[in-house]
Symmetry: C2
DNA sequence: GCAAAAGTGTTTGGATTACACCCATGC
DNA sequence: GCATGGGTGTAATCCAAACACTTTTGC
């Protein structure tokens, strides 16, 4: 019935690749590691590795990220799966991308295992990476852009307390456009933000008020009404 | 470095499962097959099978669908990937869902290979299926619902020529709500539709005008302006 | 004429846009 | 005072919801 024997279907491998986004200096960045191992030794890549045969995908994504970069407690979500038969030089390896958005300043990524170095690279300044990792990042970034319109994931990228201008700059970078300040703030009227008492410090202009996202209120809004986040 | 030998990572298998949606009798339906093969022999399932080790994913999804149901030339798109270690009783099989939307009347699904029967089942009347196929359908249906808001995929489900009421009924079923007829049609003002000269026939009330989707105009709209489909 | 569904117009209130203006801080 | 960004108000316009109304067909 099959063109090959049933047992010969069990000759794949399966990996996960973690696309970790952060926001700094006005740009979305991606976490990269330098491979200390063949194939693509000394090339930059996104952190990823093979999944153990008895391991669940979500758990494996977390393990792999910890092992290579010491980033733990990161909220990973599945993105696209890549299965070109030639994408891995050592055999048939299908890979699923997992994505996370983190506050760069709140985490300390350090190289471990076969990761020799770790760095944050601006999404618009990526060099050529190992495997098909450029395509993986591209596809996952498209997903990020889509999600940012309808889900409050922007707050995972900004510091816990942020200014409204920082929020606007993030959206302007992602959508490569500019917004009218007054109108952008009117849209924020519908979004549950907590105004902090403190203000920005050490700026040579009027200090901005700081805000934080009210995720509790957000949760009750979406469960109790047909509230829809939109920006 | 690894807890197992490198070669022991090549003990997985990988499958694809096709979630084919259609629309009839006012309801979204899913194409199911009856398995003539262990495991889950005689159980209903979505069409799916193992991917050959040298086969590309998109091509494999099409091949599998043809082999089991004789449906060819179907436009399949990747959805979620499922990798619970215990989801398949015969080994570690990771699977990616592929989804398609078709006009039921334009295709003739017939069982082949180890598919014993084929049927269209209403999405809200699904029985218990083989493997984790209920979860796969659920997740893929959520994706369909999301996509229908911003992409003109509804026209893949409706007949080539449809009435505006049929379109409205489709959206009302998917969003489990009702719309005001006049207001729904105002929203359609922005969507490139071609008014046909013929009308509905054999109805015992005023016959409705028939429309078709102008995909050419749609293509030029999205490339030339920043047009966004929305319904 | 009547039932049934097709098809359209009007009003109203809320959101979006463009744009102008004032405010607080460092130097 | 002035440069720099923070922060807000207004008017015009567009859009969406609610609702009422007219039209065309079969019987």
């Amino acid at each position: 019935m099959y063109k090959i024997e049933f047992k010969d279907f069990f000759t794949y491998s399966f990996s996960l690749d973690c696309v970790i986004f952060g926001f700094q200096n006005g740009k979305i960045h991606v976490l990269l590691i330098k491979r200390a191992m063949e194939p693509f030794k000394n090339k930059w890549a996104i952190p990823g590795d093979l999944v153990y045969p008895d391991e669940d995908l979500a758990a494996a994504a977390n393990r792999i990220l910890v092992e290579l970069t010491n980033l733990s407690m990161v909220d990973l979500h599945q993105a696209e799966t890549f299965g070109n038969p030639n994408r891995h030089p050592q055999g048939r390896v299908i890979t699923s991308a997992y994505m996370a958005l983190i506050r760069i300043a709140d985490f300390k990524a350090t190289p471990a295992s076969w990761a020799e170095e770790v760095k944050w690279q601006a999404i618009d300044e990526l060099q050529e990476l190992a495997f098909d990792h450029n395509a993986i990042i591209q596809s996952t970034y498209e997903l990020l852009k889509k999600k940012m319109r309808t889900e409050p994931i922007c707050f995972d990228l900004l510091p816990e307390r942020f200014t409204l201008n920082e929020l606007q700059c993030l959206y302007e970078f992602v959508y490569t456009t500019t917004f009218d300040k007054a109108n952008f703030r009117k849209k924020l009227k519908h979004i549950p933000l907590i105004k902090q008492t403190e203000k920005q410090a050490n700026v040579k202009h009027r200090p901005a008020k700081l805000f934080s996202f009210d995720s509790q209120l957000f949760q009750s809004l979406i469960t109790q009404s047909e509230y829809q986040f939109k920006l």
